[in-house]
């Protein structure tokens, strides 16, 4: 947002500020002129305007005086001072004990004033030099104040320059000036606004002195100029320099300072040319031609683009319109004839040209920053008249003539609204009188036609066009704090949250419930990370989206996978811990030709290092145990059970993971789940231990695999249990065994199969293993008899023998 520094003493030129600087800042802020901060020399919190009422010699020291000060309301104190310039009746700054000041005897560092005995006499405070106040170098004597200054006032209200720094909204370039803020302040305070003195301009100009021409009136809607003679270049007066400095500008010369001063005061940037250097005595606003170049004031030779608006004379380009002048035509020592330009330029073109030539930003051209906004074409004649006035007063100039080229004057809108619109939009009762008073204070013209109101904003306001704008203006002045608060009534729109988002929250709850820590990482990642997901660097994910103007190479890729981020998080944390269990739920971004990318919500999990004990080193109950692939299986299984989801049969192996300790669950053409131990070579690249386990779950597929809720009534009849142990080939997969047991036992009332033990070793032949299972039987129709269960077990045993050649060990 454009910022503006407003020295309050300068503001007082145009409006009587009857309240403190803090209060006017607060009230402007609350009316929409955002105050960033208020700055002062310093607070001068306990420093007062005081009168010397008595002065006598210090009894014990020749060079010291005892001064009695009166600082209002009958408050008097005696201070000891060595100042040579005091007299009874002098008005001076007096600092109470506790005041902050610059210690002249200690390189001007800040100190807090304490009561002090000087040669046996207590000094109750101090009278201050300019140095001690921090407003100048002088420490020879006490700063003598204006004899009219009110005794008892705080010094800061009399002397202290208070600068209010505003951040002006980009739709209010009219307020980006001292007079703009003054108009706002006058409207808020209900006091008159005083316009600065303007020079009446003659509306004629001898073409042999200066010709002004607009070649593109879209790019340059208005061009006013004045021709001045007898200009005496020099320095500007101290008061102007001080104001410029306070407002953040550097004084240069009287003519340049006046153009800057008027820019700050009126809001209209100006440019002064050495008129004798204009070839053909012309100022022409036109688009640049192919191959044209100009050396701008900053000494840079610039090749112009055909879309750049320039100011030229009859032969060459003089400068970039509204952005920066050229070296050739610049005023300089010895210039006496000045052509002064005040013009309007189309903001978007100005902005493009500014950016193209690298003149934007806070370090760029101050004029360009203003011309990038929709400045009113009513401003140029005001700026010109004010500048001519100051040039006459401060540079001895005589105005010979002026010209105003304005081919298609901009219409000021008439906004029609009903009084009832104000109440409708604000939800507040604003009286008719109150509303028109607010508009009147802001300088709006209006006509009332029954309930209708026709409003014409001041010509310099370019932000007003619709009834809501008028409502806002009224509300700003009446005060937003007068708007009541209530909760909306009416019909509640009923929509359900998107099922995917509900699923996501259920998954989040489940994983937190499992004891995993949630993480959220940058969605923009380093491209190098993508090459560290497989042992050979081959890509895991499709070609990703790229940020064309990344803030850094580390944030160039719009991530197509969560895995890299999770491994990075794990890696950084494993530098200071031995185990972790984390998850993240976020979209990955998969490009689609000609369309926005698919944002595919993914659940990522990493288990790494020590699983137990939960607290590192605390092994007295729980021996150390590293995560195993079964832990990750447990998380995925838990996720499926918690959400009643999951379908299909996993395949062994997945890219970037351990080929024998990973799996993927394919659903249609997509991976529903990819999980397993990280390929140990990949783990090494991330400086992670081999016991690193990763899972990625496609949230949409998880949702798609949700089974309907099947409420279970607790069974009425008791269950029966049988234990069974049998020997099979070592290569036999448990899943196959379980599937067959369930199939064989289904008719006999088999309810569940639990794996009790897996044994390899001396008790079974080489190349074999033993499974011990517990079988649960139950019938919904009645209690099963021993004979029923025995029959069912026999069937299961027969199936195991038939399918797996199993040897029954015990039952």
């Amino acid at each position: 947002m454009p910022s503006l520094k407003v020295p309050v003493s300068w503001l007082r030129d145009y409006v009587d500020v009857s309240v403190s600087s803090d209060e006017i800042a607060e009230r402007l802020h609350m009316a929409g002129m955002e105050v960033d901060h208020v700055e002062r020399t310093w607070d001068w919190d306990k420093i007062w305007v005081a009168r010397i009422t008595a002065l006598e010699r210090h009894p014990n020291a020749d060079k010291l005086l005892l001064a009695t000060v009166d600082y209002g309301d009958g408050r008097t104190r005696q201070v000891v001072t060595g100042a040579p310039n005091l007299a009874v009746g002098a008005i001076v700054p007096y600092a109470e004990v506790g005041a902050a000041y610059k210690d002249a005897h200690n390189d001007g560092t800040m100190a807090v004033l304490e009561p002090k005995k000087m040669r046996g006499i207590m000094s109750e405070g101090m009278v201050m030099s300019a140095l001690e106040l921090g407003i100048g170098p002088d420490h020879e004597g006490i700063l003598l104040l204006d004899p009219q200054a009110p005794v008892g006032a705080r010094l800061r209200d009399v002397l202290g320059e208070t600068v209010i720094q505003f951040e002006i909204a980009p739709n209010r370039p009219d307020a980006l000036s001292l007079t703009g803020i003054a108009r706002e302040a006058a409207a808020i305070l209900g006091t008159p606004y005083r316009a600065p003195a303007m020079e009446p301009l003659p509306h004629r100009l001898d073409p042999s002195l200066l010709v002004v021409r607009i070649e593109d009136d879209d790019a340059c809607p208005r061009f006013t100029a004045a021709y001045l003679t007898g200009v005496r270049m020099g320095t500007s007066p101290a008061w102007m320099q001080q104001r410029l400095i306070a407002a953040g500008m550097r004084p240069i010369s009287n003519v340049v300072d006046i153009t800057n001063y008027v820019m700050l005061e009126i809001g209209q940037p100006l440019h002064a040319y050495d008129a004798e250097r204009l070839r053909g005595r012309a100022l022409v606003a036109r688009l640049a031609r192919a191959g044209e170049a100009v050396r701008t004031l900053d000494g840079v030779d610039r090749i112009l683009r055909a879309s750049d608006l320039v100011i030229a004379d009859e032969e060459r380009v003089l400068g970039l319109a509204g952005i920066m002048g050229g070296e050739d035509s610049e005023i300089r020592e010895g210039t006496t004839e000045v052509a002064l330009e005040a013009a309007s330029f189309e903001p978007r073109r100005t902005r493009r040209t500014t950016d193209a030539h690298g003149l934007g930003g806070s370090g760029g051209s101050a004029a360009a920053r203003r011309f990038a906004l929709d400045l009113s074409p009513e401003l140029p004649p005001l700026g010109l008249a004010r500048a001519v006035h100051l040039l006459r007063e401060l540079a001895g100039a005589t105005v010979v003539g002026a010209v105003d080229v304005y081919p298609r004057p901009r219409q000021v809108p008439n906004v029609k609204l009903r009084f009832s619109d104000i109440g409708r939009v604000l939800g507040a009762e604003v009286g008719r009188d109150e509303a028109v008073d607010a508009l009147r204070r802001l300088g709006f013209a209006y006509a009332e036609l029954g309930d209708q109101l026709v409003v014409t904003p001041p010509a310099i306001r370019t932000d007003i066009g619709i009834p809501e704008d008028i409502v806002e203006e009224v509300a700003r002045i009446v005060g937003y704090d007068t708007i009541p608060t209530r909760l909306p009534t009416g019909v509640l729109p009923l929509h359900e949250r998107h099922p995917l988002e509900r699923m996501r929250e259920r998954v989040r709850d489940a994983l937190v419930g499992f004891g995993l820590q949630e993480t959220i990482s940058y969605a923009l990642i380093d491209e190098a990370w993508l090459r560290r997901l497989t042992p050979d660097g081959s890509p895991l994910a499709p070609e990703p989206l790229r940020v064309t103007n990344p803030t850094s190479a580390q944030q160039e890729i719009v991530r197509p996978t969560l895995r890299a981020s999770l491994l990075d998080t794990a890696s950084r944390n494993m530098k200071h811990r031995k185990g972790l269990a984390i998850f993240e739920i976020d979209p990955v971004y998969l490009p689609r030709p000609g369309d926005l990318p698919e944002e595919r919500w993914t659940v990522g999990v990493v288990l790494c290092g020590l699983a137990e004990p939960v607290r590192e080193g605390e092994t007295w109950l729980t021996p150390e145990r590293v995560f195993e692939v079964s832990d990750l299986q447990g998380v995925i299984d838990g996720l499926h059970r918690a959400t009643r989801s999951g379908r299909g049969t996993p395949e062994v192996g997945a890219p970037g993971l351990h080929p024998g300790r990973s799996w993927r669950l394919v659903d249609g053409a997509r991976d529903a789940v990819v999980a397993g131990q990280l390929d140990p070579r990949v783990a090494e690249m991330w400086e992670l231990p081999p016991a690193t386990f990763v899972a990625e779950v496609d949230l949409a597929l998880l949702l798609a695999s949700v089974r309907p809720n099947a409420a279970l009534t607790p069974p009425r009849y008791p269950a029966a249990w049988r234990d069974l142990a049998f020997v099979v080939d070592d290569a036999t997969a448990w899943r196959d065994v379980e599937t067959d047991i369930r199939a064989a036992g289904a008719k006999g009332g088999l309810e569940d199969v639990a794996l009790r033990d897996l044994y390899r070793g001396a008790q079974v032949p080489a190349g074999k293993k033993s499974f011990a299972v517990r079988l649960t039987f139950r019938s919904p129709a009645g209690t099963l008899s021993d004979a029923d269960v025995d029959r069912a077990v026999a069937k299961i045993e027969a199936r195991l023998l038939h399918r797996f050649g199993a040897t029954i060990r015990a039952s």
């Binding site: 980009p170 937003y480 209530r486 909760l487 729109p493 926005l596 607290r615």
Partner: protein, 374 residues
């Protein structure tokens, strides 16, 4: 009474004394089997002799057997109770556990402060009838800017330093980086360049395009800016956006909703401030702030200037306003029939305040030592 029946009574007496002397549950079980076991117990054995007795003696014998069984069973029960009671007493009198020893710890899962805060936000707004919806993070320029009255070259674009995306085969975005500001400005060579959304406001347009009034939604989501990162700024961050459209909505309703939100999040004693602001897509526009709960709005703490509010006494919570009629028209709503309000605020800001997190970068660093502390 017959001799046989007397024998039964004697047996019961003997059993009672043996039971009373049983030292533990196992001894008691053995006695139970011996005397009243269903197959081989003494009572069962005695009853087996019943058929051999003269008919006249049978009733008396049966009655004696039952009486003996009852005596034995009640003795068993009594002794069993005594044994259990004394076992419990022994256990109670046993060695106390050292409760100061570390427990068998459970793994405690935690939500990330951002997701926790987003839940809190959506929960509060849900209570006021706002449904949570979400939208794309990679967006068209149209939704992020143009439909929100921010055409190319609009000065409001300065506020949104944009990260542009160049998707293969989608479009070209010509970039001209400025020399000094470091800000890149896109000159779209096609109508719709693609970008990383700079705010959640594009969802205002998307929701209105998809729904007819009444509308009440809150939109949490990730946003992106070309921004240097420091303790209070992130290039990737989260916002929440609110939108309500109906026949009779006003600034007063907006104020009420946001007041209610601020108080539900930070307590009912919070004061709320509402002041004019500027957004191209709302008119009138406002900013809502609540008084700082660290310094109670004074701007100073014992340590000097309040770090939480920067000394202003106020914490800016959200930008808001009445939806601009032009935006309504653009989605086919009739501004003379419906109006509404919108608001948007930063999630991190709230999360920092709620958790006491001093530096916004902690959220994305994912240092578990931090995450486990909040």
């Amino acid at each position: 009474m017959s001799i046989v029946a007397n024998d039964l009574a004697d047996m019961a007496t003997r059993a009672e004394s043996e039971i009373a002397a049983a030292a533990d549950e196992a001894a008691l079980d053995a006695l139970r089997v011996r005397y009243v076991g269903r197959r081989e117990g003494e009572i069962t054995k005695a009853l087996k002799t019943l058929p051999s007795l003269p008919a006249a003696e049978r009733p008396a014998f049966g009655a004696a057997a039952n009486a003996a069984r009852e005596r034995i069973e009640s003795a068993l029960e009594r002794r069993g109770g005594e044994l259990r009671a004394s076992a419990l007493e022994r256990d109670i009198a046993g060695a106390a556990a050292d409760l100061t020893l570390p427990p068998r710890r459970v793994r405690v899962g935690r939500y990330h402060p951002i997701s926790r805060t987003i839940r809190e936000i959506t929960r509060i707004f849900a209570g006021m009838g706002f449904e949570a919806v979400e939208g794309p993070e990679v967006e068209w320029d149209y939704y992020n800017f143009e439909a929100l009255n921010i055409p190319p070259g609009h000065p409001a674009r300065d506020k949104f330093s944009t990260l542009w995306v160049n998707a293969e085969g989608s479009m070209e975005v010509a970039l001209a980086a400025t020399g000094t500001g470091g800000r890149a400005v896109a000159e779209p060579s096609r109508r719709q360049p693609m970008l990383l959304r700079t705010h959640t406001s594009p969802m205002q347009i998307r929701v209105m395009e998809q729904r007819r009034p009444p509308v009440r939604v809150v939109v949490p989501g990730r946003c992106y800016r070309f921004e240097a990162t420091d303790a209070t700024h992130e290039s990737v961050f989260f916002q929440y956006e609110g939108l309500a459209i109906d026949e009779q909505l006003s600034m007063a309703d907006l104020k009420g909703v946001l007041y209610s939100f601020a108080r539900q999040i930070f307590g009912s004693e919070r004061k709320v401030r509402f002041r004019p602001d500027y957004f191209p897509f709302t008119e009138p526009s406002a900013e809502i702030a609540f008084d700082c709960f660290v310094c109670d709005g004074s701007g100073t703490t014992n340590a000097g200037r309040c770090a939480t509010c920067g000394g202003s006494g106020w914490i800016e919570a959200a930008g808001c306003g009445m939806v601009h009629p032009e935006a309504l028209r653009r989605v086919g709503y009739d501004p003379s029939q419906v109006q509404g309000f919108a608001f948007g605020g930063g999630v991190e800001r709230l999360a920092m305040l709620l958790t006491g997190t001093p530096d916004i970068r902690l959220f994305h660093q994912n240092d578990l030592r931090y995450l486990e502390s909040v």
